[in-house]
Symmetry: C2
Subunit: 196 residues, 2 copies
Amino acid sequence: MAISVHSSRRDELVAQAARLFSERGYHGASMQDLAEALGLLRGSLYAHIGSKEDLLFDVANQGAVRFLERGLAAAAEAGTPPERLRAFLGAHVETAIEHLDAGTVFMNEWRYLSPALRTKIQDKRDLYESTVRDLLTEGQRSGHFRADLDVSLAARLVLSAGNWVYAWYKPDKELSPQEIGRGYADMLIRGFEEGP
Amino acid sequence: MAISVHSSRRDELVAQAARLFSERGYHGASMQDLAEALGLLRGSLYAHIGSKEDLLFDVANQGAVRFLERGLAAAAEAGTPPERLRAFLGAHVETAIEHLDAGTVFMNEWRYLSPALRTKIQDKRDLYESTVRDLLTEGQRSGHFRADLDVSLAARLVLSAGNWVYAWYKPDKELSPQEIGRGYADMLIRGFEEGP
DNA sequence: CGGCAGCAAACAAACGGTCGTTTGGCGAGC
DNA sequence: GCTCGCCAAACGACCGTTTGTTTGCTGCCG
């Protein structure tokens, strides 16, 4: 007897959709593909979902929520701004790698959502980015980061590092998520700090 | 009499394909869409191309060649390793922004190529990345960069910054490509250099 | 100068196949 | 006995591609 890790059939659907959308892209993965992965006919999927786009939203939203929850928690920890930025980066990289599929869809495929649904994801992205900006601004005020740091650009740099992980990380890699996050944080924070 | 900026009809096809593939994705853009953009019927396109995949390869390869030409030239300039890294980053960001469409396809859609064609793009990507690694290694030997710098990870960081530009840059932005490249270089190089 | 060959470009129509989605029925388990 | 999960079949639309034909030019030859 197979024990499912999913609490419901729908969760299983979303998980397989995440895998397929990340591998082949939203438009490149068909309902046929998804049904085959689950051992069903494609019409049968519509007992569980409203439309293909619903699935895309669920996958992208799941990715967004995971990044937000862990990232915001890390940024709100006790410690100096550099310490919290380090924790944030670590959380981001770990989340990206633990949930590579949903993360890839969150980064790559969310833009194919219709405007109404896309907005909901965009809001979460904006909140996430502003968290980084706030952290950097706070670090400036506390004197940890250079006063002439361009906060918007630095935030983009931090997120670029984290967001591109999905594009090159292979699960059998030598480096662990923790090592990657720590390495990135070392280089970036040193670049943000006051010089000698 | 209208003067075309394209040397041939095929170039015009590739340019429109770049735009559509970057906007809607390779699988999301149909030959119908492309034909309409050119004022043709979709069958007529096949007088100029062999297949849709040919177009994807042409667009992705065009992007790859542009990055390679400018990036390798910048890395081979006279100057110290930090200066050349700065030139490289500037060239990359400028290229990414000047050719946002082809660059986006080069970053996002190239993976949908069949293995034979994908390999040709992958080779160019590998060459590009190794150029950054060599530059960083040289900077270590010359004493400009920290001896304990993880060169592979630092190279990934540089490329992440540059590769993610297409994902957030909007042409009406306040920051010029030069300013972005310079800002990234300031932060990154400071992070790579020997401490006090 | 007239006519005709050669050419590239595009149309018109069709190919087999796949797309996402809907509907009606049916069997198994609470 | 009723609900839930799935099947079977079908829907119209669209997919990428092929084919045969028409169009409008261009340059050459008589």
